[in-house]
Symmetry: C2
Subunit: 364 residues, 2 copies
């Protein structure tokens, strides 16, 4: 700050000496130089998700004439992928970029900031956050963790994952060792599935050796890089537990409160740019990746209707149980479920009917 | 600029006199005060579309510490709704917010920056613009009009409009006096429809008097305000000519080139915020508006499959004709159609199968 207060005095002095008529020096001249560290939950090879942090940091720098520097660190450079919340909360880093359902184990309420089984699509989730009560409710919740949360991307509907054997009925879920996390794991456990935690880098070998029977990751563009189709041929869809998985930026509350208004505005707007940019990048890259995977002998299969129904019912049961024992979850769920249910009529009318007709036909 | 160059000299003088060791004064301190006028194509009562300009201007002001002021004017305060392109091109205003298909009459190529019949959904259009060749191709095209274009919102799939009588077959389109514009009008004319131009404020009376048989506007949230269901009971869907209608900001090329880099960055990021914010607002507001319209005796009807097929074929014919005679159209169409067709497999797999299952079921 020394340079800053020097500049201020110098400017005032020169002005008085020159004309005596200058307005006060602009706030912009007084903006502090800040260097922040951003802990990402993602490795660099997930260039679409990790890339959102890069997009964000780059824009913040441009918007502040290079004075507000945020340097992104891929996981696990500073902290493990699922420790970003604590790193921000404790002040180890000023800011993080993560998926809130990684913290489902601390409190199921975190999932509403990312994805809930049979929840909302990418657009619906963004609508709830920006023009429903989503952001307001999640800000209240995150405040208890000293975090101010911002939208930070969405993957769109993910795939159901890679299976060594096709799932033909709910029976096939019993005893299935499935690399799947958080909320989905809890729902699937009701149907006899054994949710297993395996780090991203070890999924391939675990599948190959048969230590697990199935694994879900993201979607065609990211999955292709890890080569899962070499060791598990059946690619099921949809990933009903991630109809539109949202990523988030977490800013430490204390750091946020200290920021000049212009820097706060820069974070608010740059996070939304990163948010839409990630979805656009996935939407542009996934189609060709899927086509290549199919070319490469992937067997693309929808989950059977009976499996979808069983999972939906198990999800409803899980929500009811969680809401009964967790008042924070119940508060958000009540608002979230009303918004979700209210979306269906409209989306079935214009969006779905158009997409269904239109996406079944090629133009020349 | 006088204050700016004065500030610069004063700062340099004071620094030399004080320590002689200061780094150059920061660019931020030299940022000019600018006052721009934004001509919107939209009236204030279309608060979602018009509101995007307000969101944008507000953010630009915050990002520049109040130095870059853009004042939005609703249509037709400065120019008529369909004259925003010329107003920016000629320098009457520095910036505009508009729908590019309003300029379809000048060149059909404009439509790719907004909506093309049986084209892309909101997400697909954004993906093409941001991570396909869309923005690159449209920037080339707009450069000939002295315009630098930016994304400025999307409505999502619109409704097919309000009809005094239900459309039951392609035959019913013959002789239909339909208030519908540009590209859709041209396609429908092939099927015998008579496209009619009626200003937004006069649609209600024209429908009531039977001067027109049908009119399309936007979707439930905007349509409800104009009370169309009082005079035309049948609400057809989907608006296949606007699967995801994009709005745009137009900045005058000369003005853009003069802007400091920080102001350019502010426009780039704030336009994307306005872009996503508009879609989120429509997605949050349309469902309840549709429910109210149905409650109020609106008859909701899909266009019959035979009508959709006939319109799709007529659209294909129109594209082929236009591409044959307009090299600019042909250049963009070639890229656009490849991107559109490539989207279908992936969207039918994860997004559509999830949405179809999920939006047919309520959670409690």
């Amino acid at each position: 700050m020394e340079r800053r207060s020097f500049l201020k005095k110098a400017a005032v002095g020169s002005v008085a000496g020159a004309t005596g008529a200058m307005t006060a020096p602009s706030l912009a001249a007084e903006l502090p130089t800040l260097n922040w560290r951003l802990a990402s939950s993602f490795p660099k090879n997930l260039d679409t998700i990790y890339g959102a942090a890069e997009t964000f940091c780059h824009r913040i720098k441009e918007l502040t004439d290079g004075k507000f520097n945020i340097r992104p660190y891929a996981a696990p450079e500073i902290v493990p992928f699922n420790a970003v919340l604590d790193a921000v909360k404790d002040g180890t880093v000023e800011i993080g970029h993560t998926a809130s359902y990684y913290y489902y184990g601390k409190d199921a309420t975190f999932a509403f900031d990312c994805a809930v089984p049979f929840g909302m699509t990418s657009r619906q989730q963004t609508a709830w956050m920006m023009h429903g009560n989503g952001m307001k409710l999640m800000r209240e919740f995150f405040a208890e963790h000293n975090v101010v949360n911002f939208l930070g991307g969405n993957t769109g509907t993910q795939m159901g994952g890679w299976f060594r054997k096709e799932i033909k009925s709910p029976e096939d879920l019993k005893g299935l060792k499935f690399r799947v996390g958080g909320f989905a794991g809890k729902v699937l456990a009701k149907l006899g599935t054994i949710p297993v935690q395996v780090a991203g880098g070890e999924i391939y070998t675990s599948l190959e050796k048969g230590a697990i029977d199935a694994a879900e990751w993201v979607g065609p563009y990211d999955d292709e890089k890890l080569g899962f189709n070499k060791v598990a041929k059946v690619y099921h869809y949809p990933g009903w537990w991630e109809g539109g998985a949202q990523l988030s930026f977490y800013v430490g509350k204390k750091e946020w409160d200290k920021l000049p208004k212009l820097y706060q505005a820069a974070i608010e707007t740059a996070s939304l740019e990163a948010h839409i940019n990630m979805q656009a990048k996935y939407d542009a890259r996934n189609p060709s990746a899927l086509a290549r995977l199919i070319q490469d002998k992937t067997i693309l299969k929808p989950f059977p209707q009976s499996v979808m129904e069983a999972c939906f019912n198990a999800a409803q049961e899980t929500f009811t149980e969680e809401a009964a024992k967790n008042p924070k979850f119940n508060k958000v769920y009540t608002d979230w479920v009303a918004f979700r249910n209210n979306q269906s009529q409209w989306f079935n009318v214009a969006e779905q009917s158009f997409a269904r007709f239109n996406m079944a036909r090629k133009l020349k």
